[in-house]
């Protein structure tokens, strides 16, 4: 399963044996590079960055570190090793051999799943393209770039599937992935959260913690797919995705650590005092958390979805850890509780589980998200500070599904418009919060130095020391 780097497009899929496909991708490649130069990290194309590149998909080869200019990153097509005995593990085709080609009747749905996933990858690069100008350290700048190049590779992964299995439609969709732009009013990215701005590094860390975790859950669900090339592609993507969530979890933890140090040193919990010290007060961190969490759980889609039922029944998209679950993997006749507003209050109602699979995935996501928030609270607890971060109620600030249009506070109270308006400044980041955080964003480029508002990391990347030269600015 080694990757052939001599080829124009590194791959472990024997691309050279399919000349038509190879030519199609080689035609797409310059357009991709052009997109990267236009929409990739701003002003950083000549830096030598200490990056991780996959040289094979086995454990010893996929984390190869070296200095590299980002446009020279070897974006390629890597699928996890095949399992010849693999089956469709859920839905109506359960027990059949996994499909090596697209079943005709599911073609449109599969294409839609792949395009939706693929669209998020370049979108996040676009959202983050100015962050490099305000990085709090070389270490963080390197991590940002690593996230960026790997999101780029994830786009490649989806484009390969489109070109390889969807003919002309697929090629057109692959072009369109390079045409849409995050936040563009005429050609926006498909999903809402990917049109939001990522204006500062706290937002970036929250995004990588919460929104890239949505990516993890979507990829996990697709890694169960009966369409084997999709399962193998997403499986390898997950290994890379882990780094992105690490950047988010450790990034927020380091911000909290620094704030708590300042709180302890100056014996103060007053946000104004702490802001005067140049650190980010915990209530502001809580408001950022509320925002990113609520926007991200919308990404799982409507609480009841016939599409989700179709995708599952057809064996296209499973649940998180589908094969580790003990039920019948068909789910007919089973129910699942969803939240709705009835009679002026929030209540649970049992609906057919097949229709509630978005909600099932969302709830798994929520459980996973809370783990990291609990670990952030451990940092606060260690400093003897009484404040605790909380994950807001599932119904808070929702824009999609039956809860859209209702006002629910972070602790789950259904309130009217006036109460919402009176409280929203305590719950979601205000313009002042964002302006304050933005005011802290200055660029730190010296080795071993970290901006005042964030602690150094506990360990370096690839076991390098903290004073390692992660970026050569040239």
């Amino acid at each position: 399963m080694s990757i052939d780097y001599a080829q124009k497009i590194p791959n472990n899929v024997n691309l050279s044996e399919d000349r038509a496909l190879q030519r199609a991708l080689e035609h797409w490649q310059p357009n991709y590079i052009e997109w990267w130069r236009e929409m990739g990290p701003d002003g950083s194309q000549d830096f030598d960055v200490y990056l991780r590149t996959a040289v094979s998909v086995d454990p010893s080869g996929w984390a190869h570190f070296d200095y590299l200019k980002m446009p020279d990153y070897r974006w390629g097509i890597f699928l996890a090793a095949p399992d010849p005995a693999r089956q469709v593990n859920f839905g109506e085709h359960k027990g059949e051999a996994a499909w090596q080609d697209v079943p005709g009747e599911h073609r449109a749905n599969l294409r839609r799943i792949i395009v939706t996933q693929g669209d998020t990858e370049p979108a996040s690069v676009e959202q983050q393209r100015h962050l490099g100008l305000t990085a709090p350290s070389q270490y963080d700048l390197r991590n940002l770039f690593q996230v960026n190049v790997e999101e780029g590779r994830h786009l490649w992964a989806m484009v390969y599937l489109l070109h390889r299995y969807f003919g002309r439609d697929g090629r057109e969709e692959a072009e369109a992935l390079l045409q849409r732009r995050s936040g563009d009013t005429d050609h926006p990215r498909i999903l809402g959260a990917f049109n939001e701005r990522t204006p500062d590094w706290l937002a970036f860390f929250m995004f990588t913690y919460f929104t890239d975790r949505d990516g993890k859950f979507q990829l996990c669900a697709l890694a169960e797919s009966g369409f084997d090339p999709l399962a193998r592609t997403t499986k390898f993507m997950l290994t890379e995705e882990a780094h992105h969530m690490f950047v988010g979890e450790s990034g927020v933890a380091r911000v909290i650590q620094r704030t708590c140090e300042a709180m302890r040193e100056h014996k103060s919990e007053d946000p104004a005092t702490l802001r005067a010290l140049g650190v980010i007060d915990l209530p502001t961190i809580q408001r950022y958390l509320n925002f990113h969490y609520s926007v991200t759980i919308d990404l799982f889609g409507a609480d009841q979805s016939s599409n989700a039922a179709i995708f599952y029944g057809a064996g296209l998209k499973g649940r998180f850890e589908e094969t580790k679950r003990a039920d019948d993997h068909v789910l007919k006749g089973m129910t699942y509780p969803i939240l709705e507003v009835a009679g002026g209050k929030l209540t649970e109602r049992a609906v057919p589980m097949l229709n509630a699979l978005n909600e099932v995935l969302r709830d798994d996501y929520i459980k996973d998200s809370m783990g990291g928030v609990a670990r952030w609270n451990k940092v606060i607890e260690k400093h003897g500070v009484a404040f605790r971060l909380q994950v807001p109620h599932k119904a808070f600030n929702r824009r999609i599904g039956t809860l859209a249009g209702h006002h629910v506070t972070p602790d789950g109270q259904l309130v009217d418009e006036a109460t919402w308006q009176a409280g929203v400044r305590q719950w979601l980041p205000t313009d002042e919060d964002r302006a304050y955080v933005a005011s802290l964003m200055g660029r730190v480029t010296e080795r071993a130095r970290y901006a005042n508002w964030i602690s150094p990391p506990v360990v370096g990347i690839n076991r390098q020391p903290l004073d390692f030269e992660y970026i050569r600015f040239n």
Partner: protein
């Protein structure tokens, strides 16, 4: 990773719950399913993990790279690990093995296990990648669930009969079962029976002392160097479960084996490579394997071999006779004895300093690979000696150290 002399101590692989982000990458990667999790923590089953290190590079955080030296009977069970918020502090001290010629290095003095455990962690002193040109190792072909059986075809004592140290050379044959190995790799032996708590014994790891093409060339057999354990690290009498089992085996006996293990402590396979080998006691096992490999290739290889080997006395030095018969122009042998009557104690690091000119010349060469095997406590002493030698010859040790590590040319196998 390997313990050539296995005592009641094992190096347990643990995940730091404070740094881990629960991304599942390690569990996905582990070839033997040693890693599992609940909603709180990711944990490693000590009795399944073969220390193949497949999980180390993919971990995005570094949380995976934590090791604790613990008594084999007291490894942390996963039920306990699942409750941790932080890694446990290192348990009470494990003292130096009284029987081996290694000076206690200053850095470890009084540091007990904390210092030992620290050195296993992410600031590992040696490379975490194999040398350039190393053959690709096979690992984990046989596991606890499916071990392979081997037949004892030889078992001889290799230390003099009248000395206290009882070290055996044991040859195991795998018959028709494939068991491909490389010099520097190790295997696990499953001793029969159960421990005091009624659990089956955990596997004990032993470095191979034979080269890849067999102890007897062309045969599907391997050799181990096993020291009979009769005292624990504190000197109290204790009967080592596996070492006694192995030393007492007779020809024709059957042994359950797992492995092979190890994918970094491997030899470069080009003939110009110089090997600088530093070992004590049964830490000589991988050095014997590599030396024998080079001896068999001698006609085509012109790289230098230099060996520093420590023991209490010449008579306790495993393989002393055959070793001294090797031609001087093939291998440069330096022996340090710490208990020779009427002679001052000498340790391997003293000898390395004495031979500083030649060691420094070897270290200058990009073809030189350094291997260290023996008790954990020799690690710092050897590093100090290498630093001193480099600095005396005007070289920047820190830069060289980094280079040796990043090029897979400095390997430690300590226990």
């Amino acid at each position: 990773m390997d313990a050539s002399v296995t005592t009641a101590v094992v190096k347990q692989h643990l995940i730091d719950p404070e740094i881990c982000i629960r991304c599942n990458t390690c569990e996905e990667t582990c070839p033997v399913h040693a890693i599992t999790h609940d909603s709180r923590n990711y944990v490693v089953r000590a009795d399944v993990c073969g220390s193949c290190l497949a999980c180390i590079a993919p971990c995005p955080t570094g949380a995976i790279d934590n090791w604790r030296v613990v008594a084999a009977a007291q490894t942390y069970p996963i039920e306990e690990q699942l409750l941790w918020d932080v890694l446990p502090p290192a348990p009470a001290s494990i003292t130096e093995d009284p029987g081996v010629a290694v000076a206690p290095p200053a850095a470890n003095a009084g540091g007990g296990l904390a210092a030992v455990a620290q050195a296993f962690s992410d600031s590992a002193p040696g490379a975490t990648i194999p040398p350039a040109g190393a053959a690709h190792p096979q690992v984990n072909l046989y596991t606890h669930r499916e071990p392979v059986t081997a037949t004892v075809v030889g078992n001889i004592r290799v230390t003099d009969g009248d000395v206290e140290s009882d070290t055996h050379h044991i040859v195991l044959d795998f018959g028709a079962k494939p068991f491909p190995v490389l010099e520097g790799q190790s295997i696990g032996v499953l001793p029969p029976g159960v421990d005091a708590a009624g659990r089956t014994h955990v596997a004990r790891q032993y470095s191979l002392s034979s080269p890849r093409d067999g102890e007897r060339r062309g045969y599907n057999n391997i050799a181990l160097t096993v020291k009979r354990v009769t005292a624990d690290h504190a000197g109290a009498p204790v009967r080592g479960v596996c070492s006694n089992y192995l030393c007492d085996l007779a020809k024709g006996d059957i042994v359950q084996v797992i492995g092979p293990f190890g994918n970094t402590f491997l030899m470069p396979d080009h003939p110009r490579a110089n090997l600088l080998m530093i070992c004590t006691g049964t830490g000589s096992a991988p050095m014997r394997a590599m030396t024998e490999r080079r001896r068999r290739l001698r006609a085509d290889a012109d790289g230098k071999l230099m060996l520093f080997f420590g023991a209490r006395t010449a008579r306790e030095l495993p393989y002393f006779g055959p070793l001294m018969n090797l031609p001087r122009d093939f291998i440069d042998i330096n022996l340090a004895f710490s208990r020779t009557p009427d002679t001052p104690k000498r340790y391997v690091q003293d000898l390395m300093r004495e031979r500083g000119d030649d060691v420094a010349a070897l270290l200058e060469s990009p073809d030189t690979h350094v291997y260290v095997c023996g008790l954990k406590s020799m690690e710092q002493g050897v590093l100090d000696a290498l630093r001193a030698v480099c600095e005396q010859h005007g070289a920047d040790w820190n830069a060289r150290w980094r280079e040796l590590k990043s090029e897979g040319r400095l390997h430690f196998e300590t226990y």
